[in-house]
């Protein structure tokens, strides 16, 4: 009888009184199923509440900046593909615009429209991957499959244009590697309704989904002032209600000639970040449609021997063309001495290139302003006091891309 009594809950214990807990240190990552990308978050929890966290990364530091210092400007372009590998065309564009700023060259109109169109396709695939992966980590596998279906179509059309699905190496300082292939616009016209359909299917599955909303609303919220202090940009900043978009504020390529809106959120929580990304995909499709209507015919590269290789006909038949070709390949593009900073709107925000040139064919220093570096630096601040289970939606919505963040 005695043992039975001691096992049964005693009448004096108040069940509403919190149980005694002790601090526990939990390691999330670096190889963790819910962490896309390799990052380690050391968390100290009391019960389920996070009291301290420390984010460690660098598991994909590949020495991008040092490699660039040892390559000619043209050979840096393949390295930029692998920064934000979900939207490589935008990285290409930023680097090429920065080098063009040195020379003051203005690329032909057709090139500007192609750059805009392909950048927007990349942005769609970036947001699709982010939303799909974040939803999958919350247990919603179907939206992931739908969005990957849409992304596959984008990869196929990019492959038609550039020759590779992912790492495209397509843009050059002063133009593009090649013109658009035949039948490109017909193909694009075919896939745009599918992209729209995929977005609306995802919208139906997630936006009013009770589980999804419960896991994301008011989770990982950040105020406008804090976000600016952390140098937020891109969808995460717009979710806080700041309508800052490089495409609107500092237009480049053909963005000043297309009409689009900048979706903004209000509370800056995980749900708002999701909604802003969904809104942006629709705006990107609008931009592509306008570009398709406006795009002129003509060359895609400037006729400037300082940056662009001469046509093959000249290389084979004239000595000037041959020398020019040889110098450009062997010594590389030689910008004047100085330094430039050029920014574009990447998938995660303001992607900036700061290039220092010493007048030789190799950059003296290339620095990338990685948007998600600043955003992830607020991770410890955001999850403090939150629940252990909140790490996954918050981290998923920040869209950390290790290649860009750690370079």
């Amino acid at each position: 009888m005695d043992t039975e009594k001691s096992l049964s809950p005693s009448a004096e214990v108040d069940i509403l009184e919190p149980t005694e807990t002790r601090r526990m240190r939990v390691n999330v990552g670096p190889s963790h199923p819910a962490m896309h990308g390799v990052i380690q978050i050391v968390v100290e929890v009391e019960g389920e509440t996070i009291v301290y966290s420390d984010t460690n990364f660098g598991y994909l530091h590949r020495g991008f900046e040092k490699e660039c210092e040892n390559h000619t400007y043209q050979l840096c372009i393949p390295y930029t593909d692998r920064l934000n590998y979900v939207s490589p065309l935008i990285n290409n564009e930023g680097f090429c615009l920065a080098v063009e700023k040195f020379f003051g060259v203005d690329v032909p109109e057709r090139c500007k429209y192609i750059r805009t169109m392909l950048s927007e396709l990349s942005r769609i695939s970036d947001h699709q991957t982010c939303i799909g992966a974040a939803a999958m980590e919350l247990g919603a596998f179907t939206p992931f499959l739908y969005l990957m279906k849409g992304r596959e179509l984008i990869y196929r059309i990019l492959e038609e244009v550039t020759g590779h699905r992912l790492t495209i190496n397509y843009m050059r300082p002063g133009g593009l590697a090649a013109n658009l292939p035949e039948g490109f616009f017909e193909h694009l016209r075919d896939i745009i309704p599918v992209i729209r359909e995929v977005t609306s299917e995802t919208d139906k599955l997630l936006t009013k989904n009770r589980i999804f909303i419960d896991r994301t609303r008011n989770v990982g919220a950040i105020s406008k002032e804090d976000a600016l202090s952390f140098s937020y940009s891109g969808p995460c900043l717009r979710a806080c209600g700041v309508a800052y978009d490089v495409r609107k504020a500092f237009p480049y390529s053909a963005y000043d000639r297309v009409d689009f809106e900048v979706p903004v959120g209000s509370t800056g929580d995980t749900l708002d970040r999701y909604l802003v990304r969904m809104g942006e995909m629709e705006q990107s499709v609008r931009i592509i449609e306008q570009c398709m209507r406006q795009i002129p015919d003509g060359p895609v590269s400037v006729n400037d021997p300082r940056v662009i290789l001469p046509p093959k006909q000249e290389v084979y038949h004239t000595i000037e063309g041959l020398v020019n070709h040889f110098k450009l390949v062997y010594e590389g593009i030689r910008p004047p001495k100085g330094e430039v900073y050029q920014m574009v709107e990447g998938g995660n925000g303001e992607l900036g290139y700061y290039i220092v040139s010493d007048g030789t064919g190799r950059p003296y220093r290339v620095r990338v302003r990685p948007p998600c570096f600043m955003i992830v630096s607020s991770m410890d601040f955001m999850i403090k006091g939150a629940m252990m289970a909140d790490i996954v939606p918050v981290f998923g919505s920040l869209n950390m891309i290790a290649g860009e963040m750690e370079r």
């Binding site: 990364f57 660098g58 530091h61 020495g63 900046e65 040092k66 490699e67 040892n70 700023k101 040195f102 003051g104 406008k224 002032e225 804090d226 600016l228 202090s229 952390f230 140098s231 209600g241 700041v242 309508a243 800052y244 504020a249 500092f250 100085g338 330094e339 430039v340 900073y341 920014m343 303001e350 900036g352 700061y354 220092v356 003296y364 220093r365 620095r367 302003r369 570096f373 600043m374 630096s377 607020s378 601040f381 750690e406």
Partner: protein, 178 residues
């Protein structure tokens, strides 16, 4: 702070005179090539100047875009801190620089002004070995703690690696140049 470009950007010349009016001769050099305005300031006044640029209502460079460093190996002073600022209301951009000598590679930390400076300065410390006075948590960030040297310095060889685990086969032929 709703959306950028709600007021007209301040002209570069008047910006220089505002700084001069407040600090005296703190700007060592200024230029605006390729459309980017640049000022070089004294290292000792680094934090003061940036605090002024951030807080002065006529300037209001309230957004830290980027913070990095360049190693001018062979020049004196050797390092150069580079900060890119953006005035959110007017859309004006500014680059602020300061030279740092090799023998005393320290500079004031900007963490009191912007929270994003925390990780950015850790990265500069990791890659260049610049120490930031007043930084709350100056540790390596991209490389591991056992790593010796600062990889982005110009005198660090490109291919000199420091493995953490024994490798099954040598990384490269011995005669190969690193």
């Amino acid at each position: 702070m709703a959306s950028p470009k709600t007021s007209a950007p301040v002209a570069f010349s008047s910006l220089l005179s505002v700084i001069k009016g407040h600090f005296g001769e703190v700007v060592l050099a200024h230029r605006s090539d390729f459309g980017d305005d640049t000022i070089v300031v004294q290292r000792e006044r680094w934090l003061d100047v940036l605090r002024f640029l951030k807080d002065a209502p006529s300037l209001a460079f309230n957004y830290l875009v980027d913070l990095t460093c360049v190693d001018y190996f062979g020049q004196e002073p050797r390092f150069e801190m580079v900060v890119h600022l953006l005035a959110f209301e007017s859309g004006k951009r500014l680059r602020v620089k300061a030279r740092i000598p090799e023998e005393d590679a320290t500079i004031a930390s900007l963490v009191p002004l912007w929270r994003s400076a925390n990780w950015l300065e850790r990265e500069v410390y990791d890659m260049f070995g610049i120490r930031f006075a007043g930084h709350p948590d100056l540790r390596r960030i991209l490389m591991y703690d056992e790593f010796e040297g600062y990889p982005l310095r110009k005198d660090y060889p490109l291919k000199k690696s420091q493995p953490r685990v024994p490798l099954l086969s040598p990384e490269r032929e011995e005669e190969e140049e690193i």
